[in-house]
């Protein structure tokens, strides 16, 4: 779209973190060696992702390497990514979060109703199953909390596959913070937080995309 731009994943998350969203730990690396030392400081396993404004949909462009457990795998993955024909300048090195539950959240500007918060089931079946619910903004914490009751996947909030119950208060705060960010920054067109993962039941924004007017 003309007149709009996308924040990088890293900048999108940094912005959301300013509003209180808990994000995954990550560092930008400009070389293979830097990627390895970043991975060591974050702790294995890590994830490598293409970094920069041109990579809005990294999974689709094969720009993500998951579950890199040691120096050697980080090295070969980093070499492969830096070596792409489109010559990326930097990579994002993030902690690899283990969590079997994925949810998605976002804010869009609807033509009829204005700013609208979305929350639903994430993962590869998101579009197909479309278990998603909406609230017009501003919404109270009470209204945000009531979103969970709308979803068929609310059953996943309970303890699941050895992971504890999802922390509902914290998740409410995450959605409230995303909403505040959009309400506050008038230039924002949309925010996508996809996925939100739940290590130990606590919500963490693992990827995000903010699109704004120039």
């Amino acid at each position: 779209m003309s007149g709009t731009y996308a924040l990088t994943e890293h900048d999108s998350k940094k912005l959301l973190a300013e509003y209180g969203v808990h994000i995954s730990r990550e560092v930008i690396a400009h070389s293979v060696d830097e990627a390895i030392s970043c991975a060591e400081s974050i702790g294995f396993p890590v994830v490598l992702k293409l970094n920069g404004p041109d990579y809005m949909h990294k999974t689709e462009s094969d720009g993500v390497r998951l579950h890199l457990a040691d120096r050697a795998t980080v090295r070969s993955a980093a070499e492969e990514l830096f070596d792409r024909p489109d010559k990326p300048v930097s990579l994002l090195v993030s902690e690899h979060i283990r969590s079997s539950r994925e949810f998605i959240a976002g804010v869009t500007r609807n033509t009829d109703f204005g700013l609208t918060l979305a929350f639903g089931l994430g993962g590869i079946f998101t579009e197909v199953i479309a278990d998603i619910t909406f609230r017009l903004l501003p919404a109270t914490r009470y209204e945000i909390r009531s979103m969970f009751e709308d979803l068929s996947s609310k059953a996943l909030f309970k303890a699941f596959r050895g992971e504890p119950e999802i922390h509902v208060e914290e998740l409410t705060e995450v959605l409230f913070s995303i909403s505040n960010c959009a309400l506050d920054r008038k230039k924002i067109i949309s925010i996508d937080v996809n996925p939100i993962l739940f290590p130990g039941g606590h919500p963490v924004a693992v990827d995000a995309l903010v699109i704004a007017h120039e």
């Binding site: 976002g106 609807n110 009829d112 109703f113 609208t116 479309a130 619910t133 017009l136 914490r141 709308d150």
Partner: protein, 489 residues
């Protein structure tokens, strides 16, 4: 101009004029005048007619200039679109504050119509006249005894207000109101909504002392946000039921985000109605069932629901519907179980639904109704099987074998039905708990003595137990919304 306030002149005018009255009973200009005269409006009624003909005993005048100033404040306009600007200018000179424009020829008819409609809006603002319609079938206002529409019927007076983008859906509602004797306060066909939109009508109904329940049918929304705000504010005061036509599964346009592509209009609309504290109904008949329950029953204090039935199968279906709902099929408390034992034959079901097991031939049902409603654990009651005895009565009274013995029993059955109805009505009032009655006889046999007794009490007979459960679920949800929504911020 505060449009919402000015709607007052539409629904409660001091005097009325029909512009373009006709001598021909097939024309809108005749029907409108006839309906206004026939509904009992007590203020002055004028009509204009180009030939100054006498119509339905009214001596018409040539045009609005012939009417003294400040006598009428509302005009029902049945002349073609071309003549309307001049009509409005004349109307403002004699103090008319509100008009309903029946005529089409606006937005719905192409580019010229769009222009004519925007000119109409400008003119209304210049003159300070609120316009309902154009391209609508009119409205009813029972507190004013005013039927200003070009169709029938005129519904009984009551507390349900309707703003409908389809005149036909409005008529559906009023037809149901008539057959069930569930009254209407105001009903308006919103037409093209040039000046007054659904949002304005909802805001008016929210403040309207004659209205307790609001229903809205719409097919799109010129300003979605204004609609949401009006719904939200109105829902704090009264239950609002929304029926929407023209939902499309299309994805949001030009969405570059994941959630954006899932944000379809229909999904957002559905959640928006819920967030506003209002209720979405799939079709006008379901909306009527909800509105009738809201208009006739108190809100329940909780989810515990008891079913009294002499109709076995419907008892089972009702229990299933309750289990699928947010309501709770009450597990009978021991003390209540013991008390019921005293009133019913030993073969009664011993569980909820309480199957009356033929106990209805005894005098105990009214006492049982009072007993269950007085129990603290019972929040609501659904009563099934009404009219069965009335049905027998009718078959006896219509029978070629009718003798004195049969007549006596027929009368007994009829009086039993009336007793059940009085016990239900009294029980609900005394204990402040909703009691929903369901039987297909509500539509299948409106002359059944039980159904007639319900109608006489302005009570609704839900057409199926499943729709009674849906209505009760809405009552319970509204009760919670009222209690909690604004407590947690």
């Amino acid at each position: 101009m505060n449009k919402v306030k000015e709607i007052q002149a539409l629904f409660n005018p001091k005097g009325v004029v029909v512009v373009g009255a006709s001598t021909h009973p097939g024309k809108f200009g005749f029907v409108a005048l006839h309906n206004i005269l026939n509904s009992g409006f007590t203020g002055p009624i004028y009509a204009t007619n180009i030939d100054e003909a006498s119509i339905l005993g009214i001596q018409t005048v040539k045009d609005l200039r012939a009417i003294p100033p400040s006598v009428v404040d509302f005009a029902m306009i049945c002349v073609p679109a071309l003549a309307i600007p001049e009509t409005l200018i004349e109307a403002s000179k004699i103090g008319i504050k509100a008009v309903f424009i029946v005529s089409g020829g606006y937005r719905e008819s192409g580019a010229e119509g769009v222009k004519a409609e925007s000119d109409l809006l400008k003119l209304s603002e210049e003159l300070g006249i609120v316009i309902a319609g154009p391209n609508g079938q009119g409205f009813v206002s029972t507190p004013a005894r005013l039927c200003s529409q070009i169709v029938s019927p005129y519904p009984p007076a009551g507390t349900i207000a309707i703003a409908s983008q389809s005149g036909n859906v409005l008529s559906t509602f009023m037809n149901l109101a008539r057959i069930h004797n569930i009254g209407i306060s105001r009903g308006v066909s919103t037409g093209n909504q040039t000046c007054l939109g659904t949002a304005e009508y909802i805001s008016y109904f929210a403040e309207d002392s004659a209205t307790e329940v609001i229903v809205s049918y719409l097919e799109g929304f010129p300003d979605g946000r204004a609609f949401y705000e009006s719904l939200r504010e109105a829902s704090k005061m009264k239950p609002v039921i929304v029926v929407r036509g023209g939902t499309s599964p299309e994805g949001a346009k030009a969405a570059s985000s994941h959630t954006g592509s899932l944000a379809t209009d229909d999904r957002i609309f559905r959640e928006m109605v819920k967030q506003a504290g209002a209720f979405l109904a799939r079709d006008p008949l379901i909306a009527f069932e909800l509105a009738a329950a809201f208009a006739t029953q108190p809100l329940p204090a909780g989810k515990n629901t008891l079913v009294l039935t002499s109709a076995g199968g419907w008892g089972v279906l009702t229990a299933d519907a309750i289990s699928d709902s947010e309501l709770n099929l009450l597990h009978l408390p021991d003390d209540l179980m013991r008390s019921i034992d005293e009133y019913l034959p030993p073969r009664w079901s011993k569980s909820n639904p309480i199957d009356l097991a033929g106990g209805e031939t005894r005098e105990t049902i009214p006492k049982l109704i009072d007993l269950v409603l007085s129990h603290a654990d019972v929040d609501s009651l659904i009563f099934l099987g009404i009219g069965i005895q009335g049905n027998i009565a009718r078959s006896y009274l219509e029978s070629e074998y009718l003798d004195e013995g049969m007549r006596r029993i027929a009368k007994f059955h009829e009086s039993q039905e009336k007793k059940y109805v009085s016990a239900l009505v009294r029980g609900s009032a005394e204990h402040g708990k909703p009691v929903l009655v369901a039987s297909e006889l509500g539509i299948a046999d409106p002359n059944n003595p039980a159904i007639m007794a319900l109608r006489g009490n302005n009570w609704h007979c839900h057409t199926s137990a499943v729709s009674a459960v849906a209505a009760l679920e809405a009552l319970e949800r509204y009760s919670r919304i009222r209690n909690s929504q604004y407590k947690y911020q």
